[in-house]
């Protein structure tokens, strides 16, 4: 099992956002996580990546090891990748330089030699084709002045270069027009493999037309309230989240405890 989440709870400022979430993901699988705003989807992504602003309890095993005990950079070198919902701008730091530094940190961990600027450029050029990215991007500062779509493409480029084992895509489709969505989705599709698991957080069925998931989960009130195959996403698209939210309300421990 690549990822095993048991009774994961996360709160920030005393407010509990994840309330006992369980999830199993095997290598090679694509899991879609859907759910209404504020249900905890992005919190799950942030907690798995190691964001320190949350108080976290529960158990997360990544390849059998305690993920929650690792620092963010340790998780990254071990192959956990988060495509950010809002990629961060770093003025004055070249995109190419940033990505090469990141890759060399990962290579060091894997016992591989560091890539020099020339070798890296060749690799980057090849991977940029996946997301139809222009080479001029590489000489600009990290995400600075990029449009929303360019930022999302840049995230997928980073994923293509870093070759993670577990990639978490946090609303990578939001803010994309239909052409950019197709490019990003086909880039991600090309990165599907037997050794790699994807956790795709999305609001819309649209992305899942291109990127067909093995499992679809619905989060409401901080836990997974329903799981199914790709048809669940179609059902949600049609009927919305009202039903699942009612399920979630009915399943809270206090409600169960109050019954005679």
């Amino acid at each position: 099992m690549m990822l095993q989440i048991r009774n994961l709870r996360a709160s920030v400022g005393g407010k509990e956002i994840l309330r006992g979430l369980d999830l199993d993901v095997r290598a090679g699988e694509v899991h879609a996580i859907m759910g209404p705003n504020g249900s905890g989807k992005s919190t799950l992504a942030q907690v798995l990546a190691g964001r320190e602003t949350y108080d976290v309890t529960g158990e997360v095993l990544y390849e059998g090891r305690n993920l929650l005990a690792m620092s963010p950079e340790q998780r990254a070198v071990e192959g956990v990748f988060l495509a950010f919902q809002y990629p961060v701008e770093i003025p004055g730091v070249g995109n190419l330089y940033f990505l090469r530094t990141a890759l060399n940190m990962v290579r060091k961990q894997r016992g591989l030699e560091e890539l020099d600027a020339m070798d890296f450029l060749a690799l980057a050029k090849e991977r940029m084709k996946l997301v139809e990215m222009d080479q001029s991007f590489m000489n600009r500062s990290v995400n600075e002045g990029f449009s929303g779509g360019e930022k999302k493409r840049n995230e997928i480029l980073q994923m293509a270069v870093l070759e993670p084992k577990l990639a978490i895509l946090d609303e990578t489709d939001s803010g994309l027009d239909i052409d950019a969505l197709r490019v990003v989705a086909s880039g991600v599709n090309a990165l599907r493999s037997k050794e790699r698991a994807l956790l795709v957080i999305t609001h819309y069925q649209r992305l899942l037309d291109y990127l067909v998931p093995d499992r679809v989960h619905v989060i409401a009130n901080g836990r997974i309230v329903r799981s199914g195959d790709k048809n669940l996403a179609l059902e949600l698209e049609k009927y919305g989240y009202t039903d699942v939210e009612q399920d979630a309300a009915g399943a809270t421990p206090s409600a169960v405890g109050a019954m005679p």
Binding site: A49, T53, V77, E89, L99, V106
Partner: protein, 106 residues
């Protein structure tokens, strides 16, 4: 900054950008501008920012350890100025920066 009496049509832009490291510091900028010629155009601009938690986390999620990340962000911030310096100063400034950054984060 001084604009002398004979400097007709002089043009100046001064920019002071501060980057705060850690929670125990602040920045104050005091521009001194003396203008002796009424045709001069003078501008002054100041900004203060911090190394964002978001920037650090982004770098760390990309496998870059926190100290390297901080140094990368600061160097990026200073690059605008460094690239205007003559080569030997730029190299020196870069070295000074990496020395003074050791152990300031984490």
């Amino acid at each position: 900054m001084n604009i002398l009496k004979t400097a007709t049509g002089a043009r100046n832009h001064t920019q002071c950008d501060s980057l705060l490291l850690g929670s125990q510091c602040g920045a104050h900028t005091f521009p001194y501008i003396e203008v002796m010629n009424p045709t001069a155009q003078v501008e002054h601009e100041a900004s203060t920012s911090t190394i964002g938690e978001d920037q650090l986390f982004y770098c760390r999620q990309r496998a870059i350890p926190v100290e390297d990340a901080a140094s990368m962000i600061v160097n990026g911030f200073c690059r605008e100025v460094f690239k205007e310096l003559p080569m030997e100063f730029a190299v020196e400034a870069q070295k000074l920066l990496s020395v003074s950054l050791e152990g300031c984060v984490g």
